[in-house]
């Protein structure tokens, strides 16, 4: 059990990324002596630092522009997450210090605890940014198809998420992102900052040696100039106002992402449907990554406050039967969303049985405690009144004890407060689709060696990786893939056709609990099976046979929905 005065020592694993950062003197260990609720944040920070190193190495090994674009994007997102988490840790530390100090000062009763609104889930989906191509004046060479790589970065509080990267050229009328981005733990005062970054796919000034220089600069982690920026960002932590979330790329050469547009969305923008919002354009025509944006973004921003989806109170109540003053029915009441459901038995709430009685609780409902004439044996009453047209309907409920009455009243006051804070989100529950796990970057290369093996990055345990792959591939992976032989002592298996099913599935439906996969081995040589004629691997009947070799797409795993 942690007490406030006890200085907890966080254990830093030897050789971990976090320990390396301490050694470099980037931040003090005392910054991390935190109560247990911050260990989650530290863990995330450590994870991002490791991902950043992976991205640096990947970038160093990239030979093709598209891979470099993906890798740079990952790197920039990691950087921004690191900054954001560090800023959050700093803020929490300061808050604790202030709190501890306030406690030592002599104080009288002090201000009463302020009521805070419940958290909620905010989901933004179906993002679409229209483009406005004018005819030929922007293109120096009409025959050339200029291409851009764009992605969106979304920040809410200290959480940063990105969408997939999309290649844009002048045949597209708008940039449509398929991903849903979900933020949990948002308050009603949330600010969702949305930023559009773009980079040219064509080299800005072809430098073949650039990737290596880029890599060495990046791999020296937070260098002097970046360190200054880090400290500056720590002061303005929490992703505010005008500065962009991302650090500018520290090195020359390699792809550079430029901020093209941004906007901030708040509770007022939440609606169960599409809305168009204005974008603030941030780049001008001389910028190499400039895109002719129409100036708005269309999306669906939905919010589900927890008070709507989770029961906030439950317990035994007695309901006065209609018309019969003395007959009280015993029910199990559950307060959820804008209704008080009264079930016959407590189990009915779980089985989905219809409740005996449903009492609506909304902004216009009036609740009074103990107002009924205090007839003997009828203390602790609660009356709930709703206006239906001209009629006022009042339900009277009895609780078992004074404490029960107080806790019901408290729950109802909290619900009213939440409804006043979350406003339109409490009218009806907005549907939020669980975001489908994102497709990993496609095998962009024709001959390439980079993406033909996928692994889940926190685990460097090959057994776990093969477990995951077999689980995902299902019954298709009948024999262990030949590349496994590189890591175990077993001889390589002779069947070359099973290599076909090792191809990265472009999308899968099982959610990955640990985020995006990264490539596992950059140096592995793809097994040579071009000369042999593959016979069809025996597969379960419902799947179509795979005959195209290493990069076959396999079964579709998504069921996309698009607005039109």
């Amino acid at each position: 059990m942690f007490s406030r005065n006890h200085r907890s020592r966080v254990t830093v694993a030897r050789g971990s990324a976090l320990e390396m950062e301490f050694k470099r003197g980037r931040f003090r260990l005392s910054l991390f002596s935190d109560p247990p609720e911050d260990t989650e944040l530290q863990r995330k920070l450590d994870h991002e630092i490791r991902m950043r190193e992976g991205a640096c190495k990947l970038l160093a090994a990239c030979s093709q522009r598209e891979q470099a674009l993906e890798a740079t994007k990952s790197l920039l997102v990691c950087n921004s997450r690191i900054l954001s988490y560090m800023g959050e840790l700093q803020r929490r530390k300061e808050a604790q210090w202030l709190e501890a100090k306030a406690r030592t000062l002599p104080s009288d009763s002090g201000p009463p605890a302020e009521r805070s609104p419940c958290r909620g889930r905010v989901c933004i989906s179906d993002l679409r940014i229209p483009l406005m191509w004018k005819d030929t004046e922007y293109f120096k060479n009409k025959g050339d198809l200029h291409r851009w790589a764009v992605f969106l970065l979304l920040q809410l509080g200290e959480h940063i998420q990105d969408t997939e990267m999309i290649l844009v050229d002048r045949t597209l009328t708008d940039i449509s992102f398929q991903s849903n981005v979900l933020f949990t733990e948002a308050g009603p005062d949330f600010e969702l900052r949305l930023e559009l970054y773009g980079a040219c796919v064509e080299e800005e000034g072809a430098l073949t040696g650039a990737p290596k220089r880029l890599a060495t600069k990046l791999s020296s982690s937070l260098g002097r100039s970046s360190g200054r920026r880090v400290r500056a960002s720590l002061d303005s932590a929490g992703g505010s106002g005008s500065s962009s979330i991302l650090l500018p790329t520290p090195a020359v050469g390699g792809p550079r992402y430029h901020l093209l547009a941004h906007t901030t969305l708040t509770l007022a923008a939440v609606q169960d449907g599409f809305r168009t919002h204005d974008l603030t354009l941030a780049s001008h025509e001389e910028n190499p990554a400039w895109l002719p944006l129409y100036g708005s973004v269309c999306c669906r921003l939905a919010a589900q406050p927890l008070c709507m989806t989770q029961p906030t109170a439950s317990g035994t109540l007695r309901v006065q039967q209609a018309g019969e003053m003395q007959n009280w029915a015993r029910v199990h009441g559950v307060l959820k969303g804008t209704n008080l459901f009264c079930y016959r038995r407590p189990e009915d709430a779980d089985t989905g049985e219809e409740p005996l009685l449903t009492i609506a609780i909304n902004k216009e409902t009036r609740v009074r405690a103990g107002e009924l004439d205090q007839a003997p044996g009828q203390p602790f009453t609660l009356s709930i009144s709703n206006q239906y047209g001209d009629d006022e309907v009042t339900h009277t409920l009895q609780t078992e004890s004074r404490e029960a009455l107080q806790s019901w009243m408290e729950a109802l006051w909290q619900l009213f407060f939440d409804m006043s804070q979350w406003k339109q989100c409490c009218d009806e529950i907005m549907k939020i689709e669980t975001p489908a796990p994102r497709k990993p970057p496609q095998a962009l290369t024709k001959q390439g060696s980079l993406y033909h093996e996928m692994a889940i990055e926190p685990l460097d345990d090959i057994a776990a990786v093969t477990d995951i792959l077999t689980q995902r591939e299902g019954t298709r992976l009948e024999t262990p893939p030949p590349w496994l032989a590189m890591f175990t002592d077993q001889p390589a298996l002779p069947n070359p056709c099973s290599a076909a099913s090792v191809a990265p599935a472009p999308a899968w439906t099982q959610p990955l609990p640990w985020g995006r996969p990264r490539t596992f081995s950059l140096d592995a040589v793809p097994p040579d099976h071009s000369a042999r004629a593959c016979s069809v691997v025996p597969l379960p009947p419902q799947r179509s046979p795979q005959t195209r070799g290493l990069y076959s797409k396999g079964q579709p795993r998504t069921w996309l929905q698009s607005p039109v």
């Binding site: 708008d174 779980d350 069921w559 698009s562």
Partner: protein, 143 residues
Amino acid sequence: MSAQWAMGQVKVPALEPWGPAVYSQMAVSISQQRVEIHKLRQGENLILGFSIGGGIDQDPSQNPFSEDKTDKGIYVTRVSEGGPAEIAGLQIGDKIMQVNGWDMTMVTHDQARKRLTKRSEEVVRLLVTRQSLQKAVQQSMLS
């Protein structure tokens, strides 16, 4: 905790062989509808006000609206309230067979989207099929 309730709580009405028995029947019929949607101009774009799902490059088993889970057709997954599609009578769950004469039963998801969002067309005429449920309850009694 709710899992254990799901197992034991299924109530089966007792059926007496010679007593009154209640049957309920559900019949599904398919009807074809022609829907004409006038696109709404929103800035530079023409929108129809609904969302589609499906396509030959998608996984049909995830389609919540299809009877046959191998059907790779294009389905209407959402209709915006008050939008052109709702006004024209399009309903969620409809399967789109044709758009302005173009077939939509054997297209990829993106091809379907493109056929609906052609900038040169202000009106799209869809041929859709719709399932409707009829619940018939019969009571038969033996005298």
